[in-house]
Each structure stands twice: as structure tokens, then as C-alpha cells.
Amino acid sequence: MLSHRVALRIMGVVAIAIAVHFSVVWAVPRVMMWKLFDSLGQSGDRAAGLQRPVLPPLADATARRVVMPNPDLLYGLCVLDLERGPMIVRADPKLSTYWSIALYSSNSDNFFVLNDREAGPLPVELRINAVPDQSASIVSPSKKVLLLMRILVPDRAQGMDALEAARSSLRCSTS
């Protein structure tokens, strides 16, 4: 028969293991996003109202910031800091091929996506806020948001000028 002390220790191990187990599962996506936010940095000066998007080259074996990079897409990224109010995202891709703008919360959920078919031919303007307000088109579940623009590159061997121009139309700002 187990002594009282041994039984208490076993219960302690199980209790700690359960608590750690659920903490790790909860924390993994948040830590991955935090690392990504950190690696992208605060490019641009939010105080000046503009956040310069990060525009990486087409993915190859050296692209190691995010797992499973798609070599057939051009990416544009912004870290949206909604701590001090809403941010505005503008883009005017003018492409007939696939593109999309997706928003990810700090726990990695994709809570919004807009693609070329939904957007139509007109320029896109999205107002994102962490708290509901009358003019916000999107309410974010977190105060830090990752914006990821994807632009399809049908053939890497073909010209990239129109695709680069579409990506360069991305603007993330406070007004």
C-alpha cells in the first residue's frame, strides 16, 4: 500500500503535468506569433503614421521565417499595432490573377481574408480596430495583428513587374 507521502507526490506530479500540458498547448501558437512579430520588427515609424510593409523576395531555401513558404506567391507583411487606435490598410493590386489580404490575430487565427474576386477592380481600404467603432470595417480580436498579402506568381520564369507593382501598392498607416 502506498504511503500517504508517496500518494501525495504522485498527485502532485499529475497536477503539475496537466497544468503544464495545457499551458504549452495554449502557448505554442502565441509564442510562434510573438517570434514572428519580433522578427518582422516595427518597420516604419508608427508615431509618424506609416508602417512600411515587409516585402520579402520570392521564397527559396533561404526563406526560413515562416514554415511552408509558398514559392508561387509574392508576400507582403505588416504588423498592425492597434494599442493606440485603428489602422488603415490600402492596396490597389489591379490584377486579374489571385491575390488576397489576410489578417491573423496574436493567437494565429486567420480572422479575416479578402481576395481579388471579393474586392473587385476598385482599390481596397480596410479600417481595423481592436475595439468596435462605427467606422471600423474590421474588429480585431487582438491588439496586435499580422497582415499577410499574397499575390499569385503563375510562373517564376515570367516577368514580375506587374506583380511587384501590385505588392508595392500595399500601405499600412494610422490615417
Binding site: 499529475v14 503539475i16 500540458h21 499551458s23 527559396d60
Partner: protein, 212 residues
């Protein structure tokens, strides 16, 4: 009744290792089971298998359970929801053997019912191989389909030069080195029926060619 201070201190000292072991063992078990659950079983309810391919019904979704969310963060961070994109990943061939980059595999399948699709080879660390001539993927624009509407791909470390492993419609995806291999089939804007029921995908077959 008086208490001997030296006895009290030694009793406390002897308990510290036991307490430490209890905490360390609990942390070890907690981290180990969490990591196992994230990598293997925890997200099984949201996974759909079609031949050697599997997809998560909840990838990227705000309704994902914590295990699916954690698993996607590790193996496919920044995934889109299935209304936008379906991701089918294969880590074994059609006979269930783990994929290795040093082996040759022939992949045959119908062009998937989507606005656009691609097939990409990744190493087991989920990043791209150092592929010559930027041959990282085959996609709806670069694939040559045969008269049946099928694409044919050969993966392996060296470009096929002759025999049964060549053909007019056969594309080569280089997988240099000797390590685990993952194939990802992406379907952008899959047809609505497939969005609802990803298991209805007519799955491409993955067959090993020769010895390795």
C-alpha cells in the same frame, strides 16, 4: 516541548530534492505529452485522410480547437481557412512508407478542382529544398496535363534521364540530400463541393520508383 532547530533544518533540506523531483517530473511529463499531442494525436478529430494525403478541416479557423491551432502553428503557421485554400500534406507514399528525399517517387493525379493549385516539395523541417533552377513546385500554370487531364511528377535527388521514369508530361521536382520529405498540395478557391467535403478529393497517387 522544545524543538531542536538543527533537526528541523535537516528535515527541510531532505525534502527539497523530493519536491524538486516532483516539479521536474511534472514539467517533463506536461511538456512531453503536450508536444506529442501537438505533433501526433491531439488534432486528429479535425484531420481528414485521403490516400496518403491529409488535411485539417480547421486550419487557420478561429473555431479551431487548441490542439489544431497549436499543430497548425508548428507545421503551417499563417494557413488560410478552407474556403480560401485547402492544404493536403503527404508524408508517406501510397503504400504507407515514409517519404525520403533520396528516393524517387512518381506522383500521378488529376488536376484538382480549384481555381489554382500547386504541388510543392518540402524537407522535414517544413522549409524548401535547395533545388536547382528554382524547381520548388509544379502548379496549374506550369503543369503539362496529358489527354486524360492528369499531371505526372517525379521527385528525387537527380534528374531522370531515361527509362520508365521519363515522358513528355513528366515534371521533375528535385529533393536533394537524404532526409524526410513532405509534399504539399495546395488548392486555392477549391470548388464548393470539395470545400465542404475535402475527403472527396481524387487523391494523386505517390509510388516509389525502383530501390532507394
Amino acid at each position: 516541548m522544545s524543538v531542536n532547530p538543527s533537526m528541523n533544518a535537516s528535515g527541510l533540506t531532505s525534502r527539497i530534492p523530493a519536491l524538486l523531483w516532483t516539479v521536474l517530473l511534472g514539467v517533463f511529463l506536461g511538456v512531453g505529452t503536450a508536444w506529442w499531442a501537438i505533433r501526433n494525436g491531439g488534432a486528429a478529430q479535425s484531420l481528414v485522410k485521403v490516400g496518403p494525403w491529409e488535411t485539417s478541416l480547421l486550419a487557420g479557423s478561429p473555431t479551431a480547437d487548441p490542439y489544431t491551432r497549436a499543430r497548425v502553428a508548428v507545421v503551417g503557421l499563417l494557413a488560410l481557412g478552407r474556403q480560401e485554400t485547402l492544404y493536403f500534406v503527404a508524408r508517406t507514399d501510397s503504400s504507407g512508407q515514409a517519404l525520403r528525399s533520396r528516393c524517387q517517387y512518381r506522383i500521378d493525379g488529376l488536376a484538382p478542382p480549384a481555381r489554382w493549385w500547386s504541388l510543392t516539395a518540402y524537407a522535414d523541417d517544413h522549409f524548401l529544398f535547395e533545388a536547382p533552377q528554382d524547381r520548388f513546385s509544379l502548379n496549374g500554370a506550369t503543369a503539362l496535363l496529358d489527354t486524360q487531364g492528369e499531371f505526372h511528377v517525379l521527385t528525387g535527388p537527380t534528374k531522370p534521364t531515361g527509362g520508365a521514369a521519363t515522358g513528355d508530361h513528366l515534371a521533375w521536382l528535385p529533393t536533394p540530400g537524404d532526409r524526410g520529405l513532405e509534399l504539399t498540395l495546395r488548392l486555392y478557391h477549391p470548388l464548393p463541393q470539395l470545400q465542404r467535403e475535402p475527403r472527396e478529393l481524387i487523391a494523386p497517387t505517390i509510388k516509389r520508383v525502383g530501390l532507394c
